[in-house]
Every structure is written in C-alpha cells, then in structure tokens.
C-alpha cells in the first residue's frame, strides 16, 4: 500500500513538475477592507490567471494561528495580511518568508526599483507594505454642541464635551494620547512610558475620563456606537470612519489631530511548498504594483504604500468623491500625525497590558 502511494506521488510529481497551485487562501481583516482587496486585487488576478482565491478573515489572530500551523507542520495559508508589528514578530521567529523587494516586487512604471518606491515603509525584510492607515477619532456633529472638537485632547475634556466616548481597551495608542494631553511633548512620550512614573501619569490622566468611556475591542465597535448615539466621540481606524461618514451618511466628522499611523501589508508564510510559494509570489508581484495599490484606494480611504501610487489615487468607485483628502497621508492630515514606536510596544506590551487591565478592572 505504502509503496503504491509513494509510486503514485512520484508519478504525479513527474507529470506536473513546474505546476503552480490553482487555488490559494488569502487571509485578511474582513469587512470593507477585504472588499476593497477583492475589487482591486483578487478579481483582476483571478481573471488574469484563473486561480481561485479563498478568503479567510483571520488577520486579527494571524500570529497565533501561524505559530500553531507551524507547530503542526501544516501551513494552510498562502498570503497573509498583517500590520507592521506582527509582521516583524513573524519575521523574527522565522515564520514569514524573507522578501527581496527588487526581484520579487514590481518596479514602478518609470523604472524606479521597488525598494526605493516603498522606501521607509519596508520596516521588516519579510513585510510587503500595502497601505498606511491610522487610528483616530470621530465625533457626532449633532451631539457635541456648538464648537466642534479639533484636538485629540478634547476627548479628555469632559467639561466642554460631556457624554460617553469610546476607546480601545488596550494600552497601545490610549496611553500615548493620555500623556500627549497631559502636556508631554510628542518626542518624549515613549521615554516617559518606559518609567513607572510616566505610566502612572498616563493612567492618572485616563482616570479623569474613566467613567465616561465605553471600552471597545474591535474596529467595528466605535462606528456602531457612533451611529447609535451611544457615544459622542470615539477612536477607530480612519477607513471605518470614512465609510460611516461618506457611505452611510451618518452625522459624524473626524478629528485627524493626534492620529496614530501604522502600516498594513502582506507576508508569505515560511515553509510553503515550492509551487504554492511560486503562486503566492506571483500574486504579490501583481497585487502590490503601482496601479493595483492605487486602485484599492477607490474603495477605502487608506493611503497606498508606494510613492508612485499616490498621484494615481482617484475618485471613490461608487460615490465619485475625491479620495486624496481622506487619506491619512494627505498633507494637512499628516502634519498632525503621531508616529508609533513598534520597538517600544514589542518590549512593554505584556507589562503595560497587565497594568492597564488591572487599572481597568479597578
């Protein structure tokens, strides 16, 4: 029996030596974001190659699942959409494949090599950048009174803006905003957060609004709470707010001030069979070229990670509005951004999470 099976395997291998997989599983975040990828990448790629693409909305737990797959020795994913920090972690642990941008990614139309076109966005040697997104605040225009909030610190001003606000129940971003609004300069925030005094200071600042906060865990919570009028302002990803404001026409506006920018992109899991890896690389080459990245912005307001894609960003596919000003990277939005320190959070996440959760439970 065994011999027969081996023989079968050998003949199959001989018959189709250079075959590349005809089906692939792509992992992403679901919702409007996956829809934008479907429209901009998956459908054109399937039309071009005939490959069937299966979607799995598991990105939020991708690191845990890739680890488990690696231990089980059975990787079922071909391309995975993750944020920059998890990509770095996967790369460090050898769970993601190292990418050579200049040979594996498409050059810009004018011939600029991919490594230059992506530039600083290539934060890890396994990470293929796709978009720039940000976490920022939206507010109900009809519930905040006559003067609309303009600064991230208005979130902490319960006298001027009474009512509930929603924040993510994690220390990341939340503690930075607290320190920023407690008078710490942007450049000194991570130095302060390394010390116990700085951490206590951030929590003390959050204490002042603790009773007015609804703590949320997913990116879709705040848009829902805003739409229901449960909160007057709240933090979430800028693309979700765009969809709430422009597509669902809710009376909501954005506070770009203090937006925390982050990157999102692809990784290819390490340890794929050669044919699956070839397929994944072929997909990546296609899906991250200049035109495709610019196309994605037709469906969602995240900035393309390639410099050469920026001028090609046009209008929303259905609404016909100009997408440029809605990007976190638009000049007037960018000037008020805050840059997250990945290395700091890689080190202090567990520690601050424990403290933050204990503080929340108090």
């Amino acid at each position: 029996m065994k011999i027969k099976l081996t023989a079968l395997a050998v003949t199959t291998a001989l018959v189709a030596p250079a075959a590349i997989a005809e089906e692939m599983t792509i992992v992403s975040w679901g919702g409007a974001y996956s829809k934008s990828q479907l429209n901009a990448y998956h459908i054109p790629y399937s039309e071009k190659t005939g490959v069937t693409i299966l979607n799995d909305d598991s990105s939020s737990t991708a690191v845990a699942k890739l680890r488990a797959m690696n231990e089980a020795g059975n990787i079922t994913w071909d391309v995975v959409d993750v944020e920059a920090a998890p990509a770095m972690q996967l790369c460090d642990e050898g769970l993601a494949m190292v990418i050579d941008p200049d040979t594996m990614l498409a050059a810009a139309p004018d011939g600029t090599p991919a490594s230059e076109d992506f530039g600083d966005m290539l934060v890890s040697e396994c990470f293929i950048p796709q978009i720039v997104y940000s976490t920022t605040f939206g507010y109900r225009t009809d519930l905040v009174g006559d003067t609309a909030p303009t600064s991230v610190c208005d979130v902490f001003d319960t006298a001027a803006y009474p009512g509930k606000r929603s924040l993510f129940s994690v220390p990341i971003n939340t503690m930075e905003w607290a320190l920023l609004c407690d008078g710490v300069a942007k450049a000194d925030i991570y130095d302060a957060l390394e010390t116990a005094e700085g951490q206590d200071r951030a929590l003390a600042k959050l204490d002042t609004i603790k009773d007015d906060v609804i703590w949320v865990s997913s990116g879709s919570d705040t848009p829902q709470l805003l739409a229901d009028g449960e909160v007057i302002m709240g933090a979430t990803y800028n693309g979700r707010l765009f969809s709430l404001i422009e597509e669902q026409k809710q009376p909501v506006a954005m506070i770009w001030d203090g937006q925390v920018m982050d990157l999102d992109g692809w990784i290819i899991p390490a340890g794929l069979s050669p044919e699956r890896q070839a397929r994944a690389l072929d997909y990546i080459m296609f899906a991250t070229d200049t035109q495709r990245l610019a196309d994605q912005a037709k469906w969602i307001s995240y900035g393309p990670a390639r410099a050469s894609s920026a001028p090609l960003v046009g209008k929303h596919a259905d609404l016909g509005i100009d997408m440029g000003p809605h990007m976190p990277t638009a000049p007037e939005n960018l000037s008020r951004a805050f840059l997250m320190n990945y290395d700091f959070w890689a080190d202090y996440r567990d520690d601050l999470d424990a403290k933050f959760q204990a503080w929340l439970a108090k």
């Binding site: 690191v63 845990a64 460090d92 703590w215 229901d228 080190d347 567990d350 424990a354 403290k355 929340l360």
Partner: protein, 424 residues
C-alpha cells in the same frame, strides 16, 4: 434429572463448570462492547484528551531557555545570584556564543519573549544583542563582558542575570505563579506589584458571577419547566418550541440582540424614558458591565436549565400532589414537601450544566461585559490569541479545570452524583 452433590460444581451444557462458562460469556460480551466503542474511545483520546494534555503541559514547560542558551545556563550555575555582583567573563562569553547561535537559527526572539514575561525589556535586549553578536568571532573577539555591556546597558544589571538564572530550568512554576498574581524572583516567590494584580480578582469574579447566573437560571427556569411538564400536550408543545427557538438561534445573534435592548439608546431605556420613569439625562447603564453579562448569559443558558428539569418533572406523577392535598396539605406544603424534593435531581443536573458552561464562557462576556463583566476565560483567550503567552494561558486553563473538577467532586460528596438526572 440428576441432583448435583454439594462438592460437585454445577456444569453447563458443554461440561465445563457453570461459573466458568458464565464468566467467559460475560467477558466475551465485555470485549465485544469495548470493541464496539473502541473507535470512539480512540478518537476521543487522540483528538480531545491528548491535545488538552499537551496544552496543559505548556504551563510548566520552560526548556526553551536551557535549549537555546545551554552554555550560559551551565556557566551561571556557579554564579551566586544573591551577592548583587555581576557574573564573571566566563558567563558573558558563554552568552555571546549562545546568542550568536540562536540568532543564526532565528530562535533568539522566542527566548527573549519568554524572559520578557518575567522582566520587561528583555525582548528588545535580546534582539539588539543578537543583531550585533551575529558579526562577532567568539574565539578571538573577547572579552565579552565589556562588549555586551557596550551593546546594551541591560547586561550591566544584576537583575537581568538573576532573571536568566531563575528561569533557566527545564520546568518552571513561573506560569502558575503568574496565574495567581505572583512571580518567581531570585529570593523566592513574591506577589506582583499591586497595580498588576488582576487574575485572582478575575477568578473570584468568574466564580461569583457564574453562581449568580446559575441561580437566576434556576429562578426563571423552574416555573417554565413546571409548566412544560404539567400543561396539556398542545400548549406544552407550543411552549417547548418557544424554549427551543432561541436555543437554535446563533449565540452571536442573541448576544447582539441584548446589546440592542440594553444599551443607553436602546429599546429598554427608550421605553422607560418615553414612559417618564427615567429622565433622558440619566438613562440606565445596563451594558458593558456585570449586569449586561448576567442578563445575556442567563438568557443564553436558560434552555440548559429548563430541559433537564423538565425531563425530571415529567416523571413525577401528578397523582402524588393530589394525594397530598387530599390528605389535607395546603398547596404550598404539597409543593414543598412532595413535589419539590422529587424535582431536585433535575435542579442538580441543570445547575451543574449551567454552572460549568458559565464558568468557561467568553464570547458573551466579551461582547456585553465591557471591562467589569469579563471572565477569566477572556484572559485565557487574550493570552492564546493576542499576547501569545501560551504558558500563562495554559496555567490559567489548568487552574480553571481543576476548580471545576473540585466543585464537581464536592457536589458529588454533598448531593451525590446519582441524584442527578438528565431524564426519565
């Protein structure tokens, strides 16, 4: 017909002693029964018990440290961690060699993360050191003490080496200590600083709230089960459908429906405000706290209470109640002295079922519990899926499992598990 004498054993048809042949027949039957359930047994063992055991073992496994840093661990053995002095050059050289090998094999971040659970900052210390150490020549580039301290100030701290030494054995109690808000240090186990203590609080909350949920399920479920058992068939069937309908609806749908009901701009608050019972500015807060969790989980677990109680109550003959009344008992006495004691096995079964399900629930608390209504299982899910501290998650899971087993055992001792019935 012969009558056997006293010392002569009874014989069966084939001439062998009856006792023996009976035993053989029984044994054969048992083997056949065992063979019949063997596929299931093997399946359960491989697909259920083995994975659980291997997951639970992670709560004590620590071989990543001695495996990745073997020379350092050996060299640290002769270092006295209590003197407050840095280890000697030998230890530093051993570490330089270990970290270089680890960096080449891409395992240095894993061990860094493991130690980072004990002391924040070690993860990046390992990463930075590994980046530099890759280029060193271990034979000729010494001494490494200055070199390492030069790379990062962390190597100049006794604490770092103490952490390494304390957590250098193959097995550790560290995760279990972490699970009860303690930690392992060079001077023994001690409590975490107060502002990091959360897990014991969550264990206690999980127990108390599961009890409250079980009790409120009983309170709401008992009358329904009684009605189901005593109404005429047609009406009882209709009621049964009403009980089962939510049972067949997705858990997420039911939980989200409670969100719509309970939130401040939700149905209940809107009704109360329009009736003038509550002013618009002081709408009730019934979600994202304990109330939300208790209400939603009581609703979701109610069928698990009603169905076992119903099946037990169905077997209680109504004639008993009539007999009690005809003998002069009031309605209350008849119910309390005659009916209720007979329904206890159903209460026991329902309560155990609901309590054990409640104690491990995490989806519903995560959605409607906010920060004050979450359970220990939410922490377990968090450590499995987000922080990736599987050791701590396994330790928390083990404690939860043992707690449930102890409760089950106590229940058996007090009430007796034979008194639990799921039906007829």
């Amino acid at each position: 017909m012969s009558v056997s004498t006293k010392n002569e054993p009874m014989l069966s048809a084939d001439g062998s002693p009856l006792k023996q042949s009976l035993a053989r027949a029984l044994r054969r039957q048992k083997v056949r029964a065992l063979l019949l359930i063997a596929p299931l047994l093997i399946f359960v063992f491989i697909a259920f018990i083995l994975p659980i055991i291997s997951m639970l073992l992670r709560s004590v496994e620590n071989d990543i440290v001695p495996r990745t840093l073997p020379e350092t661990v050996a060299a640290l053995e002769s270092w006295d961690s209590t003197t407050g002095e840095l280890p000697n050059e030998q230890v530093y050289a051993a570490f330089a060699s270990d970290i270089q090998k680890a960096a080449k094999a891409k395992v240095h971040t894993k061990v860094g993360l493991r130690l980072n659970y004990e002391q924040s900052g070690i993860a990046s210390l390992f990463k930075k050191t590994a980046r530099k150490a890759k280029k060193w020549n271990i034979e000729t580039d010494g001494p490494f003490k200055e070199k390492l301290i030069d790379v990062h100030d962390g190597w100049n701290k006794v604490e770092t080496w103490q952490t390494l030494k304390v957590h250098s054995s193959n097995y550790t109690s560290g995760y279990f200590l972490n699970a009860v808000d303690m930690r392992k240090t060079a001077s023994g186990a001690e409590f975490q600083p107060e502002n990091k203590q959360i897990l014991i609080k969550l264990f206690v909350r999980t127990l108390i709230m599961s009890l409250v949920i079980t009790f409120s399920c009983l309170l709401f479920g008992y009358p329904v089960a009684w009605l189901l058992a005593n109404l005429p068939m047609r009406k009882a069937n209709l009621l049964m459908i009403l009980v089962l309908l939510p049972f067949w609806t997705s858990l997420l749908v039911r939980t989200s429906a409670w969100k719509v009901m309970l939130q401040q701009q939700g149905v209940i608050n809107d009704v109360l405000v329009s009736l003038g019972l509550v002013s618009d500015s002081s709408r009730l807060v019934m979600i994202n706290n304990e109330i939300g969790t208790i209400v939603a989980m009581t609703h979701i677990l109610l069928p698990f209470m009603i169905l076992p109680m119903y099946s037990v109550m169905q077997t209680i003959p109504p004639s008993y109640l009539r007999a009690a009344k005809s003998l002069g008992a009031t309605n209350v006495t008849a119910f309390w002295r005659v009916y209720f004691p007979q329904s206890v096995p159903g209460i026991g079964a329902g309560s155990i079922l609901v309590f054990i399900l409640a104690i491990g629930y995490y989806i519903t608390p995560a959605i409607v519990g906010g920060t004050k209504g979450i359970f220990i299982s939410n922490q377990i899910a968090y450590h499995i899926l987000r922080s990736l501290n599987w050791g701590l998650a396994a330790a928390l899971g083990t404690i939860l499992l043992v707690a449930v087993l102890i409760l089950y055992w106590t229940y058996d001792k007090i009430v007796g598990i034979d008194n639990v019935k799921l039906g007829g």
